[in-house]
């Protein structure tokens, strides 16, 4: 710490200036008052007891939650009626299992190690494929986004492969990789990779130039700029890429499992169809939905934990 800087703000002559420097008094200045951290917090009455506040928030949120519940119940009710009375209006509900049949299957299957193993296999494939896609997508995205050399070298190749859907890779993948397991992970990886890559590239390019210049003026070298400025600056968009990538990864995984799989929830669902075990098809679908929801919820959770500053910015709400 340089002595000169230590003396920096010490003994400022005019009292006006000191008032502006003292946070307690500065708070009186409208210009210096803090913005409320979150609109919701500001809206809550200050004097309310916890119980009152809970009641308040319940009352505010109840209508929306009731409506959500109503629409879900509506779907189940329609499903129940359509399958019980075997509706046949162009779309046919004759072979569709009833909710009760599916529920019975859920109870039955929950105890079965085979089902658990299918779920476990799918999650493992997603995890490995998605992890590799994240590492490669973010790393390449940063290089392509920041350096012209890597952009000119790598981006055209990426653009050639990008329009090919992950499912179209299935036959080649089976030929390419020594065993089935690796080829399914590869398909999952392909699905997740491009959204992550493209969002990282555009996130890197959108990092405010003044922040890059500021970091240079503070003595940051290229590697430090990449790590401390470009990466966090691009982070919100990288997480957008991760969320999209996770969705595409599931689509790709299920398709790959249905076509070439052994084990996995996609395989389970397709096998149920082959074995004419209709309740299991619906069970498979519901399971896929829940797993996908959990995975994207996990990404949102991690994103919020890693990027606390977003709660205050102009972009607040983008991760909510």
């Amino acid at each position: 710490m340089p002595i000169a800087a230590q003396r920096l703000f010490h003994d400022l002559a005019p009292p006006d200036a000191r008032a502006e420097l003292a946070p307690a008094r500065a708070l009186a200045r409208p210009e210096d008052t803090l913005r409320p951290p979150l609109p919701a917090a500001a809206a809550a009455p200050v004097a309310a007891s916890p119980a009152e506040r809970l009641w308040q928030s319940l009352r505010e949120r109840a209508p929306a939650q009731l409506m959500a519940l109503a629409s879900l119940l509506g779907i189940v009710l329609f499903w129940h009626l359509a399958t019980t009375y075997k509706l046949d209006l162009y779309i046919r509900f004759t072979n569709i299992p009833t909710p009760t049949e599916v529920l019975a299957k859920i109870v039955e299957v929950n105890a079965s190690p085979k089902f658990i193993k299918n779920v476990g296999m799918s999650l493992r494939r997603i995890f490995i494929g998605f992890a590799i896609a994240t590492v490669l997508g973010v790393a390449l995205g940063m290089l392509i986004g920041r350096y012209r050399l890597t952009r000119n070298l790598l981006f055209p190749a990426m653009e050639v492969f990008r329009p090919i859907p992950a499912i179209a890779w299935v036959p080649i993948s089976i030929m390419l990789w020594p065993d089935n397991e690796v080829s399914i992970v590869f398909i999952t990886f392909i699905g997740a990779f491009f959204p992550i890559l493209l969002n990282t590239i555009s996130g890197v390019q959108a990092v405010d130039d003044v922040l890059l210049r500021a970091s240079q003026c503070l003595g940051a070298r290229e590697r430090q700029i990449m790590w401390y400025v470009v990466l966090p600056g691009a982070a919100p968009q990288i997480f957008t890429g991760l969320a999209v990538g996770m969705g595409v990864a599931w689509v790709s995984l299920i398709a790959a499992e249905m076509i070439s799989g052994q084990f996995g929830i996609g395989y389970f669902t397709w096998e149920a169809y082959s074995l004419i075990s209709y309740p299991e098809i619906v069970l498979g679908m519901i399971t896929i939905g829940i797993l996908g929801l959990m995975c994207s919820g996990l990404i949102r959770f991690v994103g919020k934990a890693l990027m606390p500053w977003l709660a205050y910015g102009a972009r607040a709400g983008s991760m909510r």
Partner: protein, 287 residues
């Protein structure tokens, strides 16, 4: 003056800057020479687009002059570095870092350990009256506070020169006045060299030892005006005859240039062009 203040000697010698390629070449600055003595506070003032910021960017190391040379303590300026603190016109705090982490950044790049960095940042923030906000994110602060943190951050690495590019341009006039006082006191404490860009005449006079007036594009130095006001400067001085005479002198100089800058638009842009120019920058300079 202390020994430390002997450093921070900025020289711009016969510098020209041209942008663009052959055929559509724009000259931003033409044969500009200026000097900031160690510990001197120097402002550059001129109509918008005259290349004031270009000169600052040369000293900061972001732009290499097409001709001429820029020196810091006799050495050619090669690129940006922590020996020159820069405060930008736009808020340039890292939004993902708390106030304290922002201030620590330069020290972290220097390789200081966490404890040292934290202690240094806390003492600086304490002196700037910002300690209560050390764990806030920039988006939680007002404009004036953000810019104060920006100044503290630039000072944390103890640069010999501060380069300030219209740092108070985005602030309301009340906050601006207070920030000017803070800056002038700070400058007296630290005896830093400061190169300050502004288009506000009063601001330039209030803060500086010397004001350079630039011409409309391509920017040239039109006049070098010494400011003989005593230190410490106080808001009351702005009413003094010396101050007012300086304001008149600078206004006259600037008016000529603003009119020259608008001349081209009068010919082909019509009234709308003038209006636009007026509202942006011309008004500030002409009033």
């Amino acid at each position: 003056m202390s020994a430390a203040a002997r450093k921070g000697h900025v020289q711009i010698k016969d510098v020209s800057v041209r942008f663009g390629s052959k055929g559509r070449m724009t000259e931003a600055a033409s044969r500009v020479s200026l000097e900031v003595q160690p510990g001197e506070f120097v402002s550059i003032i001129g109509p918008s687009g005259c290349g004031k910021s270009t000169l600052l960017n040369i000293v900061a190391g972001f732009i290499t002059p097409s001709e001429g040379e820029a020196l810091l303590d006799g050495q050619p300026i090669g690129g940006p570095g922590a020996d020159r603190g820069v405060v930008f016109q736009q808020y340039s705090l890292f939004p993902w870092m708390t106030v304290r982490k922002n201030v620590e950044f330069g020290l972290k790049m220097k390789g200081l350990g966490q404890n040292q960095r934290e202690a240094a940042a806390r003492s600086l923030l304490g002196m700037a009256g910002l300690l209560a906000f050390e764990n806030h994110y920039p988006d939680q602060l007002s404009g004036g506070m953000k810019q104060r943190v920006g100044i503290v951050r630039a000072l944390a690495t103890s640069p010999q020169v501060m380069l300030m590019d219209e740092p108070f341009g985005a602030l309301d006039s009340q906050t601006r006045t207070v920030m000017q006082e803070i800056l002038t006191n700070m400058w007296q404490q630290l005896q830093l060299s400061v190169l300050f860009i502004t288009h506000d005449i009063e601001e330039a006079i209030f803060l500086s030892e010397k004001v350079y007036v630039m011409t409309a594009r391509p920017g040239r130095i039109k006049a070098e005006i010494p400011i003989p006001l005593p230190r410490p400067r106080t808001p009351e001085m702005t009413a003094s005859p010396t101050f007012q005479a300086l304001v008149r002198q600078l206004k006259a100089l600037i008016r000529e240039e603003s009119l020259a800058a608008m001349g081209g638009e009068l010919d082909n842009g019509g009234l709308q062009g003038i209006d636009h120019q007026f509202s942006h920058d011309g008004m500030k300079a002409l009033i």
